[in-house]
């Protein structure tokens, strides 16, 4: 007896679905194998800083991981001078990255800790990232974003958005694109090929390409006013415009300070997912037998209110510099390049204040 046409179509559909499922399984398995076999690519600024950190001699024992506020506003030399003067010397490195978000910090921190091969790291300062989870559309397919969008991060982002009353969970769906590219290892093998094409000097060349960004001493710190003095052409124009537009007039500055005082009492509530992530970062540093220290950098960008989390123990050590009444010296307009970043003088002062707070935290 001949099967009915409908049964035949249904059989074909089921068979096709099974074949597609088999293909997906083999794809996922192959991608997982490739992810473990292929060498880590060297393409982002985080890779460059990690390499410099890894190759440093003598090795660094203190690192500052944070956003551009850390990169532009924390001077490791000033910090080290202060701790040395107090008899507890440190050798620190600035690992500030433009726009570092909490979700990316886990990946960066893991790589950074893995680079501490001799277990010389004693202190890891973690700047609390700003309360901004959004990602520009043009960055969705950048190497950097793809790198940290694994399944776990993707789910964490959706959970975070679900908990945040100000956002919708649907706003996270564009991140499916970097998730897909992450799972497909996009560009991982190409980077390996590129390093082969670049030859043995490729790693040195890669570091050299971004050497200027690592500052004069190569410790990762480059203040914005120094960057401006060395920029030329379009880059200089852009920086000057930024300086002009983003540094308020003295009157507006006072208004901003007043606004900041009000904001402090109404800081954005930190969600459970964010607390979990902070606790995880803390645990990662602990596992390396180093001490995690969270800090809120001075500035006007809204930040998460982690004081509650600190009191509950999720964030073990917290140094907060976001209060203009407690640290008025850090809120002097002359110390800022723009509203979000300290200038060279400001960075030096903040580094000293941070060192003092750190020494206080350590106790006598």
């Amino acid at each position: 007896m001949q099967p009915s046409p409908h049964a035949s179509i249904a059989m074909r559909a089921v068979r096709t679905l099974i074949l597609i499922a088999s293909g997906v399984i083999f794809f996922a398995a192959s991608a997982a194998i490739l992810r473990n076999v292929l060498p880590a690519p060297l393409t982002t600024e985080a890779d460059r800083r990690r390499l410099v950190f890894e190759r440093a001699s003598p090795p660094y024992d203190t690192v500052f991981l944070g956003t551009s506020r850390t990169y532009r506003g924390l001077d490791p030399a000033a910090f080290d001078t202060r701790t040395a003067a107090a008899g507890r010397p440190t050798h620190s490195f600035n690992f500030g990255l433009f726009g570092l978000r909490l979700f990316e910090a886990r990946r960066v921190l893991k790589d950074l800790l893995a680079a501490d091969r001799e277990d010389r790291l004693r202190f890891v300062f973690l700047e609390m990232p700003p309360a901004n989870w959004a990602l520009e559309r043009e960055n969705l397919q950048s190497d950097r974003v793809i790198r940290y969008h694994d399944w776990r991060t993707f789910v964490d982002i959706l959970r975070y958005l679900n908990q945040d009353p100000q956002t919708s969970v649907w706003s996270g769906w564009p991140r499916v694109v970097p998730l897909m590219e992450n799972q497909a290892n996009r560009g991982l093998g190409a980077a390996a090929f590129q390093s082969l094409a670049a030859g043995e000097d490729g790693v040195d060349d890669f570091i050299e390409q971004g050497a200027a960004e690592l500052g004069d001493r190569g410790d990762g710190f480059q203040p914005l006013d120094q960057a401006l003095s060395r920029a030329d052409g379009d880059a200089r124009e852009r920086m000057e415009e930024r300086h002009r537009l983003l540094l308020p007039s003295p009157e507006e500055w006072e208004e901003s300070i007043e606004k900041l005082r009000k904001q402090l009492s109404a800081h954005q509530t930190v969600t459970d997912v964010a607390i979990e992530l902070l606790a995880e970062l803390s645990a990662l540093v602990d596992q390396q037998r180093a001490t995690p220290i969270f800090y809120l950098a001075p500035g006007f960008t809204p930040q998460w209110d982690v004081r509650g989390a600190h009191e509950r123990g999720s964030v073990p050590a917290l140094l907060a510099f976001d209060d203009p009444d407690r640290y008025p010296e850090l809120y002097d307009r002359s110390l800022y390049f723009d509203k979000g970043h300290l200038n060279e003088r400001g960075a030096e002062l903040f580094s000293v204040v941070l060192a003092d707070a750190f020494l206080d935290l350590q106790g006598p």
Partner: protein, 467 residues
Amino acid sequence: MIFTELRFIPFLLVVFGVHWLLPGHRSRKVWLLICSYVFYAAWDWRFLSLIWISTLVDYLVGLRLGALPPDDPARRRWLLVSLWANLVLLGTFKYLGFFVESAIALLDWLGIGADPWTLRIVLPVGISFYTFQTLSYSIDIYRGRLEPVRSLLDVALFVGFFPQLVAGPIVRASDFLPQLNRARRLDDVVWRSCILLFLSGFAKKACISDNLSLIVDEFYLHPERYDLLATWIGILAYSAQIYCDFSGYSDMAIASAGILGYTIPLNFDFPYLATNIREFWRRWHVSLSSWLRDYLYIPLGGGKGKPWHRNRSLMLTMLLGGLWHGAAWRFVLWGGLHGAALAAYREYNDRVPARFRGRVPVAVATVATFGSVALLWIPFRATSMADATTVVASAFGQGAGTTSADWRLLVVFAGLAAAHWIASSGKPARALVRAPGWVFAAWVGIAIACISAFSARAVEPFIYFQF
């Protein structure tokens, strides 16, 4: 929109899904035409008007040619209308700036001052391909080899069909138009071959060509810096890049058309395994070389007549073929050198007895042919004649450059050559097409994982888009 861009995949899936869900043959053709124009408009919607002009002119010329008796002298005039319209489009948008600049340079050289002005004309993507397609339609009707098509929709779809619209293959009207007469059936789609071809094309473009472009671009930026080894790596890298780029595009075009039920002829037949230059041209960009043969070389006299006449026809065809690739003298030089090589090979064939010719081992002939083709790519890729001369000098050990390259890249090229040779037998493809379903599914899954991992980080435009 580029075939290797992420957005092409959902585009193709939507085109495919809706195409096969639509009930009627005509509605499917309308859908494909709309999608083809959307695909083209993703670059620049303004140039759609050029496609429409070319389509409409040849549609009307075709109808007029069909209405006139074969011996009517007016037929020739109508053919000239088609030739004139298409060549004016091509000449204006592709060659006008080049000819004006060349004329000014010539006047300047002769000591006659001319105002240095440059035309800034944007080259519409695919114009070289679709004008040749529409020309073949009118010429074939004029020659009585094709009946004119009454349906404007069919002619428009023949010209604008998105898989081959922007970079070929140059599909003949006689190959494509008959396919539009019959409703396509989903059951006729050879799925495995299409998937295989699409993935191999994707791999060639994204994993090989785009990655090699890093080496090639760096090399041709300062060719004077590199030593003998690095120069040969640069030459080999470009030979592999251009082949993988263009044949990869053609493979994806053929596969994309295939899943929609249409057949586009093969454009590349493992050209680097050719044992002589004539065979190379029978395997490389077959749709263009056969077009030039049928519509230019043979009308010019072809292989008939005295040796001088034959070689003249050959040279003229190859010079124009070179110019077709781009509005620059280096392309003309490249075409001329290939013409000279073809003429030399013909002379060799005519003068050397067959019993001696047969003694050259196949491997030696293949390597010699590939070596010649690779060297001839130098003027094609170099940004100036001076750079081309530098590369040639360095390739023969006369360069002054000292920067070397990693010799392990030669192993990569050896691997590519081996893959090219193994694939040419067709056995791996046949084995996969005949394999059990789960084996094929597993292979597809593994292949996609590998392609994705080894794809270049930046999606490069196809080299042939500029032609």
